[in-house]
Subunit: 608 residues, 2 copies
């Protein structure tokens, strides 16, 4: 008589001391099994937890014999009776909360092996040392690991919480097409050949940007979607060719409205998943201030080490790199780091940092250490201290340095100095352990420039996209004929940053035809080109568009932050490798000649 596995009475995470004496039916996987004094103990695992099974004296002989055959990862069903393990035998992990079933065990009466398994190619454990390729190839086993199960349960909870939140706020989840038109802007599109229209192609969407604006023109007022997006980029460290976005758009709104709504959504998620209340409103920082103070538009504000402008003092020294930087219109900036005892920032570490900086293009890493003079007051020594003598007192006072500090300098043009010091700041943050994992520093970066000068192409380009609205008070700059003003136009764009990671961003869009025309003018996009590139959106924007704006968050990245995962691959069920392949399915793969013939396509061998 087979066991009615479809009538499980409990999951493997459910039984407690008060269930003692109850007859139960459980099903799951053999996580561990051991023979002990003629008995067999099995840890039975499912998505919900782990329960100890005991095959002993009370177990019928043939069942005990069958239990001896059990091996790891066999799928079984049992009927038995819950028993308290007895005081001395309660699992220590029960008391730490790791094993809530650790007080009890199930004394097995009946056993059915539902399916067997060969030994898995790697241990199903969070401590497995198997390489990622093997784990991805057997992803169905990898996904049995409790930490990955947890990641995906959290991912589900995040998506559900977001949907509940936006539904409660009157948003409509609307689906946008996946087979759409290739647009020449942005990243590279994945193409999909059309069989019915030979020689023509669909493209997979990089984002539903254009469609969500159409939804606003259509009057849907509040749109949201959790949606897959695609970018055929060269794969860098932690990128995936397909990724999931939380995408939203609202009509009749200004920046504050979108920001308030988005903050509420993220706060709902953090409260639900971590029980953490994000202090709101989330602080805002202008792009310019972020660049000035942190050298980057997505600063990690969990720690200080801010950039300080010491150009005026630097100009007073004879130190050539400083003088030259200032004289050629650049800057000299400085970071002060504390390293009490000098344990971390050894000579060797400083050399390594300098080497890393040279690797990203810096000329060097001038620094000086702060020691105490006879009176215990700070004084500069080592490094470039001797060059700084004329300004030492002013400098130490200005940057507020104390004995034991290190001063790090960077001379050069503003952009380069920002880049190098932003890098250095993060590295110092890591080395000095200033980035606590459980601290959540949210930050909106606002007031981005609308346009930036592209030195290579010798033209103005959009910092975000050509539909981003300029700020109302900067409209005179936009309509000014003096191109000197154009770089100073600020946009209604905003990015949400968490601990130095950009979670997403968006903008208020242009809804005024005259403003849109002017932006295209400054971008050097003619009528014809605009029609060709953005035809249907421009067409739509003629028909009474409402003022609107929105944003998009990277869902994978949010889940990664919430779970503490170290890679996107730990929060995507079936991810691609860094080479853009799937070791599980073998995708991409060759296809039948017939399939290509139907598409009127021929492949070319590279190099020919």
């Amino acid at each position: 008589m087979p066991l009615p596995y479809h009538q499980r009475t409990h999951t493997c995470g459910e039984l407690r001391a008060h269930h003692a004496g109850q007859e139960v039916i459980l099903a799951g996987w053999v996580a561990h099994h051991r023979d002990h004094k003629g008995m067999v103990f099995v840890d039975l695992r499912d998505r919900y937890g782990m329960t100890q099974l005991r095959f002993g004296d009370e177990t019928p002989r043939p069942v005990l014999e069958e239990a001896r055959r059990l091996r790891s990862e066999w799928c079984i069903c049992i009927r038995g009776v819950v028993a308290h393990r007895g005081e001395g035998n309660v699992s220590p992990r029960f008391y730490t909360g790791e094993l809530p079933t650790g007080e009890i065990e199930v004394v097995v009466q009946e056993l059915e092996v539902l399916s067997e398994s060969p030994p898995p190619p790697f241990e199903i454990s969070d401590y497995t040392s198997a390489n990622e390729e093997i784990r991805l190839e057997h992803r169905y086993l990898d996904l049995r690991r409790p930490s990955l199960q947890r990641n995906f349960l959290i991912r589900h909870r995040v998506a559900k919480t977001l949907r509940d939140y936006f539904d409660a706020h009157g948003f409509v989840e609307l689906e946008t097409p996946f087979l759409t038109k290739s647009t020449p802007e942005g990243a590279r599109d994945f193409l999909v050949p059309s069989r019915l229209h030979p020689g023509k192609f669909f493209a997979l969407p990089q984002s539903p940007q254009l469609f969500k604006q159409l939804f606003m023109v259509a009057g849907f007022d509040r749109y949201v979607q959790i949606v897959r997006c695609f970018r055929d980029e060269d794969l860098r460290a932690d990128r995936q060719p397909e990724f999931t976005q939380l995408d939203l758009e609202m009509s009749f709104v200004q920046t504050d409205d979108v920001i308030r709504m988005a903050e509420g959504a993220i706060a709902a998620v953090f409260a639900q998943v971590l029980g953490y209340d994000i202090p709101r409103p989330v602080p805002r920082l202008s792009y310019q201030e972020a660049m000035d103070r942190f050298g980057i538009d997505r600063p990690d504000t969990r720690f200080g080490l801010e950039l300080q402008n010491v150009s005026d003092l630097a100009a007073q020294t004879e130190f050539a790199p400083f003088r030259q930087a200032v004289e050629s219109g650049g800057v000299v900036k400085c970071i002060v780091s504390s390293d009490p005892g000098g344990k971390v920032l050894t000579r060797k570490t400083i050399d390594t940092l300098a080497e890393e900086l040279r690797g990203i293009g810096a000329g060097g890493l001038p620094y000086a250490k702060v020691a105490a003079d006879d009176q215990g007051a700070p004084k500069l020594e080592t490094g470039i201290a001797k060059h700084l003598a004329p300004i030492a007192a002013d400098l130490l006072h200005r940057v507020g340095a104390k004995p034991g500090d290190v001063l790090w300098f960077m001379p050069g043009n503003y952009t380069a100095v920002s880049k190098y010091l932003a890098y250095l700041r993060l590295r110092l943050g890591q080395l000095l352990n200033l980035m606590p994992a459980q601290q959540w520093n949210f930050l909106w970066v606002v007031d981005f420039p609308l346009l930036e000068w592209d030195e290579e192409e010798k033209r103005w380009v959009s910092v975000h996209h050509p539909f981003t609205s300029p700020q109302d008070e900067d409209l005179p700059l936009l309509f000014s004929d003096n191109s000197q003003h154009w770089g100073r136009i600020r946009s209604k764009a905003y990015d949400l940053v968490l601990n130095g990671v950009e979670l997403g961003g968006g903008s208020i869009r242009i809804h005024r035809a005259d403003v849109q025309r002017r932006v295209f003018q400054l971008l050097g996009i003619g009528e014809e080109e605009a029609q060709q590139k953005f035809g249907f959106l421009l067409q739509a924007l003629r028909y009474g568009p409402p003022p609107h704006g929105g944003l998009a968050f990277g869902l994978d990245r949010i889940v990664m932050m919430l779970t503490g995962a170290s890679s996107l691959r730990d929060v995507i069920a079936f991810p691609k490798t860094q080479r853009g392949t799937c070791p599980l399915t073998g995708a991409p793969s060759t296809v039948a000649e017939k399939q290509l013939a139907e598409l009127f396509l021929r492949t070319i061998t590279p190099g020919k």
Copy 2:
């Protein structure tokens, strides 16, 4: 001073008599505008409803002048005061419930034109006569129509209700890849060329079938996803190349468990959207009974007109088509339709039906009418009545015909007779008006055959797919060497049918290795072929798979039923035309040579 449109106080569907006297800010679109006795009346529309604006004596002169400029579909914002229209002026549509704001109007004080619009290319109305191509080209205007807005609000509610339901039942929404491997089974794949791996291709998924089974192997226990799927089929009447599926899978279950869960989900949706309680459990019909009684495996059970087998009587006639059918192992079946007064089933209509049946392959449409004899008892006349004389009494008694009925016959082999009579039955149902729109007849069709003989390929093929489990009591047939038995193996597959439309279906999958091997054997799929076609799933099923099963529903079709839409294109925001194109974006389109070069692809001109 521009109006603060982002501080709308109400939507256009919200104001009632009790708001009279309140100052409000509204924003929306000019639906209608008319000058009347020096005043201007505007119907302001948004997603939430319509509100009448009055620009009259109380309106400042310049605002009134500006109001005269307003045209249809301009986007505006106003500030004004709510006023009761007065008893005589309440909209009649207020009393019918069509216009909940019909008691009031807003007396406008301030007006801001947010954006203008040229006259739209078609009237934004549910009564528009514009052709679909034009409407799809300007989909953002088409979507402003109240009926389409409603469809998408319902669609959102359906998806949300399903997600709430499955979340409450412990399902995890897990995302599956879109860039995956092409499989040679099933419909045609859309291919995506890989740039990083020249000559290789991803395929867009036809369904997440394999991945959801992997989730079960991975122990996720209960999976659900609302997910886009893709099929590159030749486009028929109402098909879309991309469509949305509600996809689910459960572990440790049998048929009843999946059916119960799915019924609950559909019931939740119907209760939420229509306030309709589906009587549960939903009736079940075996595949065989459905075929016998309705000639089709997705019968519309809102009406009778069932097929009746009269082969034994037919064999007693001299009517050649009947005798031949029976003698060659076929059947003669009969439908009885009532048409009191004979108003519908005129000679002309009958000729049309016969013509239609010939169009789908039938040889003819033998029929006879039932008249009353002198005693008022039924008797046959017209049509083939004279051939039926010897059996007339038995026949009339058997099928329970009354005067005024028509008897429709079909002789031939079982499959053909089923097909033709199923068609005829539906047509009669339409003609005789037997299919009330607001009646919901749900039905599970179960006990499908596992295998069917493919006469062309001369081999057994799966009715569903090769992972569908046979029924336990039919395992002896499966393992029988007598191939006569194989067609009688019933599977654990089930389809949900609503008013003759298949909403979806699924099955319990095979989790026993020996059963899976045997099924492949009967299908003539060798070890190597199986590995090549289903490699990674077979591999996964080695490692302790749990018993599992699931199903998939077509979400688009469910929404279509709920909204009463007449086409899938009315429930998909940006659908493709029947030629598989998007008139809005122009997709598919040609792409830059550079894009093809990067993919190492060349297009071939058809015909060369």
